[in-house]
């Protein structure tokens, strides 16, 4: 065994945080909103840039927003080492100490007094998304569209070990009673550094320990939208109800978590998804209230993973296997209020997102529960969108081209197992005539 082999540390929180990013992309299906239902014969060309704030916080399972550094803080005391939190080698060291004690749970026992300090697993992520899409208006208020998100995600990790380390004192206390290996182990534990921890991770055949970057497609979306109940834009004195519907599919073009890369995350779902969306609205004059709801289901898939035996985070390479994945249903509901002026259209959105628990299974015996544990996620968000549109001016021949610019600010205010999904977005949509556009 190499010197630091099989020392592991707990990055699962960190990994889970960024794993959500991918889920978010995969579930973002309301792409028809990019352009709405486009008039017949018109091609809407959409380009956007979304910039997330630096990812330094996360929402835990209890709905508390926690800095990534503190959330990934691991106490390397005897009790945690016994549970394997410090890796197999430190675990066996703690177990060895426990053998001297008739009552290892006693606070004064050797193993309970052992403390190697606290490992702070720091991390940050920079996330930007550009997406490009096309929507083509068909007769009878129907539209087909395709959208391709391009993700630029940089993940950086850092480790700091702080606090007192009393391994040397324990070694002295045991004196010649301890086996040579135990004394040696305690001596090494007394000198434990961040570098040791990194080396132990790399010894487990992981790459991307310090950083990982992905700049490529997320899951591409193709869809169909239509006005089920068309808005009557001729009257402004009575409530005007409309209903838009869509069906869509997501293609597995995004990156899926590589079991050999430590800090990567899933950008895509790894399988085909199929969804439905409904967007009822009621307008009174320039004001509109509305809902947008969509749900996406996924085909079963098989993905490479490392399956833990217990709850270890750094899983040996020989635990790599193909896992049967049943991705949970993703769904979201948005309530919105909108005002529409001539060229200015502000909108407030209140959003609920939910991803149901994934189901994993495989032939290799292991703790699949550990892999599924954080897969159920919930997010509560709100957002302000402001559209600047030249469409009406274009119709009045007061502006040469129909354009629409969206400026959006989105903020999460409650999450469970969620990443910190707050961003600003700038979107530009242009509408081009096609030969099939009616006169």
């Amino acid at each position: 065994m190499k010197k630091h082999a099989r020392w592991k540390f707990q990055l699962r929180i960190f990994r889970a945080v960024f794993a959500l990013t991918g889920t978010f992309f995969a579930s973002k299906k309301a792409l028809a909103q990019y352009a709405g239902v486009v008039p017949e014969g018109v091609l809407a060309v959409i380009g956007a840039h979304r910039s997330y704030q630096d990812q330094t916080n996360t929402w835990n399972a209890n709905g508390i927003r926690t800095p990534l550094t503190s959330k990934a803080r691991l106490s390397f005391d005897g009790q945690h080492l016994l549970q394997g939190e410090g890796g197999a080698r430190l675990q066996s060291l703690a177990e060895e100490l426990r053998r001297y004690e008739p009552q290892p749970d006693n606070p004064n026992s050797l193993v309970r007094r052992l403390n190697l300090g606290t490992l702070n697993v720091g991390g940050s992520g920079k996330l930007n998304i550009q997406y490009f899409g096309f929507a083509l208006g068909l007769p009878a208020r129907q539209t087909v569209y395709v959208a391709a998100p391009i993700v630029d995600l940089q993940v950086r990790t850092n480790f700091t070990l702080t606090g007192a380390n009393n391994a040397s004192a324990i070694k002295d206390e045991l004196g010649a009673l301890a086996y040579e290996e135990l004394r040696s182990g305690l001596a090494q534990a007394a000198l434990l550094t961040e570098r040791d921890i990194k080396a132990s991770i790399e010894a487990a055949e992981y790459t991307g320990v310090d950083s990982w970057r992905y700049r490529n497609f997320a899951d591409v979306v193709i869809g169909y939208a239509t006005d089920i109940v068309e808005a009557d834009e001729t009257t402004s004195d009575e409530p005007d109800f409309s209903l838009q519907g869509e069906i869509f599919s997501t293609a597995p073009t995004g990156h899926v978590d590589n079991p050999d890369v430590l800090s990567d995350v899933s950008i895509g779902s790894g399988t085909w998804g199929f969804g439905l969306g409904l967007a009822p609205r009621i307008a009174l004059g320039p004001y509109t209230l509305g809902l947008e709801a969509n749900a996406t289901g996924y085909l079963p898939s098989r993905q490479k993973m490392r399956v833990p035996i217990a709850d270890e985070t750094i899983i040996p390479a020989n635990r790599r296997t193909t896992v049967n994945v049943k991705t949970g249903l993703s769904w979201e509901i948005t309530a919105l209020a909108e005002a529409k002026f001539d060229w200015f259209q502000p909108q407030y959105r209140f959003i609920f997102k939910r991803h149901e628990r994934d189901q994993l299974s495989g032939q290799l015996t292991g703790n699949y529960e550990q892999l599924m544990k954080s897969s159920a996620r919930t997010q509560w968000e709100h957002a302000i969108w402001i559209y600047f549109s030249t469409i009406d001016a274009f119709k009045r021949n007061e502006f040469p081209i129909p354009l629409r610019i969206k400026v959006a600010a989105n903020q999460i205010f409650k999450g469970y197992n969620s990443f910190d999904e707050s961003f600003i977005e700038l979107q530009l949509t242009s509408f081009l005539p096609t030969p099939w556009m009616p006169e």
Partner: protein, 586 residues
């Protein structure tokens, strides 16, 4: 993790007939002045070797003599080991040892290698080589009768012993000395069943002979018994030679009572590390002897001694006793410790007789590594079985109790101490190197035992009087379940003794020291709860261990608070023991 280096003595040079030489000279000198005929021993008195009872059960603890009846201890073997560990009551020990001469051993002295060599080496008996075997009785009787044989051996032994005890040898009235092997335990009679040897009895008898009550005792005075101490030592060395089958000639082994470590074949035989061997052999259990002839001359010429081992599990306690006694033998016999007997040894005892002790090291290694000790689970087994295949049968996976582990720790400690210096040992450079490296491996074994004792048998104890608020420890059958079985005060004392000795001599450790002090406080608490000793009802061993543990603790940690109180234990037990000794000697 290997506890001990395997086959540590593979290359050990063990001088041929080294122990036989201890008697060769006086026996040569002891030829009958009239006839020059060799002296030939007879069988033990009152026991017919051909009797069916010769193969019966040998149960010495149920056949005590008057001396043995003074002890209430269930096992005299255990008592004698306790007595030797305590190294106290030297007068009582002397009485026990010298009482051995009143009983005859299971092995006729004609088969003891030292005697046998003399018989066969006698030129006047060469004529017997042309005599047909059925005529042995007739022709042998022409040369010597049994009384003459006994007298010649006695004379030879006295001549030898007088080198060390001239005053004793010069006394007018001396007991008759014989060199038959494996007498019963002191305090017991020869069982009517006759020729059977139980190894634990051998070790406990040797432990007495090699203790401070033995010939080395500084406290003993020259008395009527002094020569008998040396006699028992010479007999023990000759027994050792026979046990391992080292005393043969012309390439043939004489004796040999070892069995292979895998216990698959019941074929007791010799084990000599000088020669190449496919399997380590060791001594265990109980063996029964059958003889092909009644005739001593025939026995000397043709052997005819056949041993059968009673198949049984091998208890660790028995082996630990053997290893501990062997280490003590090395301590007593090695040149480094001969003291005032330095010049005496070569003429009285062969200079390299200490090498006999080293013969147990291969079995210590082979039995502990994987058999008695499961390194993975850290299990120290109470027994191993001959039924094991590739491991140990489920039925014999029991954990060794605290008493057995303590004895094993004592054995380990003793060997580490003895092997810490090898400069005085006359062995090959390769063997010397192996011996020098052995303490490191032995220490690992000792560390494992201490770890097991601390983690599995020690636990905090409640003060039944509710007076003490300090945390004190006691010894339990299972420390995880302290509500069930607190072990006896004797076990408590023995564990304390073993741990103090280990901390003092092998593994200085503040942690162990703190635990030992808590354990001593627990012993004190128990002693205060029930302090009594009635020699007419109570066994002696607990008192011996109490005294031994208290004295060792006080000597080792005089500054400990509990030491002052433990001195009280020491004084009180000493008083009890002296009273008992006086009564027993009357």
């Amino acid at each position: 993790m290997r506890i001990l280096p395997r086959t540590i003595l593979t290359a050990l040079f063990f001088s041929a007939g080294v122990l036989g030489a201890c008697l060769r000279k006086p026996l040569v000198a002891g030829k009958s002045p009239q006839t020059g005929a060799p002296v030939i021993a007879t069988t033990p008195s009152g026991v017919s070797p051909d009797s069916p009872a010769a193969l019966g059960q040998y149960t010495p603890t149920t056949e005590r003599n008057a001396l043995g009846a003074k002890f209430q201890d269930t096992s005299l073997a255990d008592l004698y080991i306790s007595l030797a560990a305590c190294d106290c009551l030297p007068k009582l020990q002397t009485k026990l040892i010298t009482s051995l001469n009143a009983e005859r051993g299971a092995l006729p002295q004609a088969l003891m290698p030292a005697v046998r060599r003399e018989i066969l080496g006698n030129s006047k008996l060469k004529i017997l080589e042309i005599v047909p075997r059925p005529l042995d009785d007739l022709v042998g009787g022409i040369f010597a009768d049994e009384q003459t044989v006994a007298k010649e051996i006695n004379t030879g032994l006295v001549d030898k012993i007088k080198l060390a005890e001239a005053r004793w040898a010069a006394a007018e009235s001396l007991p008759l000395l014989q060199l038959d092997g494996f007498p019963p335990l002191p305090g017991t009679r020869v069982a009517s069943s006759g020729r059977s040897v139980r190894m634990i009895d051998v070790w406990s008898r040797w432990s007495l002979i090699l203790s401070q009550g033995g010939p080395w005792s500084s406290e003993r005075s020259v008395s009527n018994d002094s020569g008998l101490l040396w006699h028992e030592l010479l007999r023990s060395l000759a027994e050792g030679e026979y046990l391992f089958g080292l005393g043969g000639s012309d390439g043939k082994s004489w004796g040999g009572m070892t069995v292979p470590v895998d216990l698959q074949i019941n074929n007791p035989g010799p084990f000599d590390p000088r020669t190449s061997y496919s399997q380590v052999r060791f001594l265990t259990g109980q063996l029964d002897l059958t003889l092909s002839s009644n005739n001593s001359l025939s026995l000397a010429r043709f052997g005819g001694d056949r041993w059968s081992w009673r198949e049984s599990n091998v208890p660790l306690a028995e082996q630990a006793a053997q290893w501990w006694v062997a280490a003590r033998a090395l301590n007593r016999l090695r040149p480094l410790n001969r003291g005032e007997f330095t010049t005496l040894f070569p003429s009285l005892i062969p200079d390299n007789s200490y090498q006999l002790s080293l013969l147990v090291l291969p079995s210590l290694d082979a039995l502990l590594s994987g058999r008695f000790i499961d390194e993975v689970s850290r299990l120290i087994r109470a027994y191993i079985s001959g039924a094991q295949v590739g491991g140990v049968a489920p039925s014999v996976r029991e954990r060794a109790d605290a008493q057995t582990q303590s004895l094993l720790l004592m054995a380990m400690s003793a060997w580490i101490k003895e092997l810490s210096t090898t400069s005085d040992l006359s062995v090959s450079s390769e063997t010397a190197a192996q011996l020098r490296s052995a303490p490191r491996s032995l220490l690992r074994g000792a560390q494992l035992i201490v770890q097991n004792l601390l983690g599995q048998t020690l636990a905090p104890r409640q003060d039944t009087n509710g007076q003490s608020t300090d945390l004190v420890f006691s010894v339990f059958a299972n420390s995880a379940d302290t509500s069930q079985t607190e072990l006896s005060i004797r076990d408590h004392a023995q564990v304390l003794h073993a741990l103090v000795s280990a901390e003092k001599n092998l593994m200085p450790s503040p942690y162990l020291r703190a635990r030992v002090i808590q354990l001593a406080a627990g012993l004190l608490q128990r002693w205060q709860e029930a302090r009594s000793f009635d020699p007419s009802k109570d066994p002696l061993a607990p008192v011996l261990w109490l005294k031994a543990a208290a004295e060792l603790f006080v000597a080792t940690y005089p500054e400990a608070t509990v030491s002052a109180s433990l001195k009280g234990i020491s004084a009180e037990t000493d008083s009890w023991l002296r009273s008992f000794e006086e009564a027993a000697l009357r």
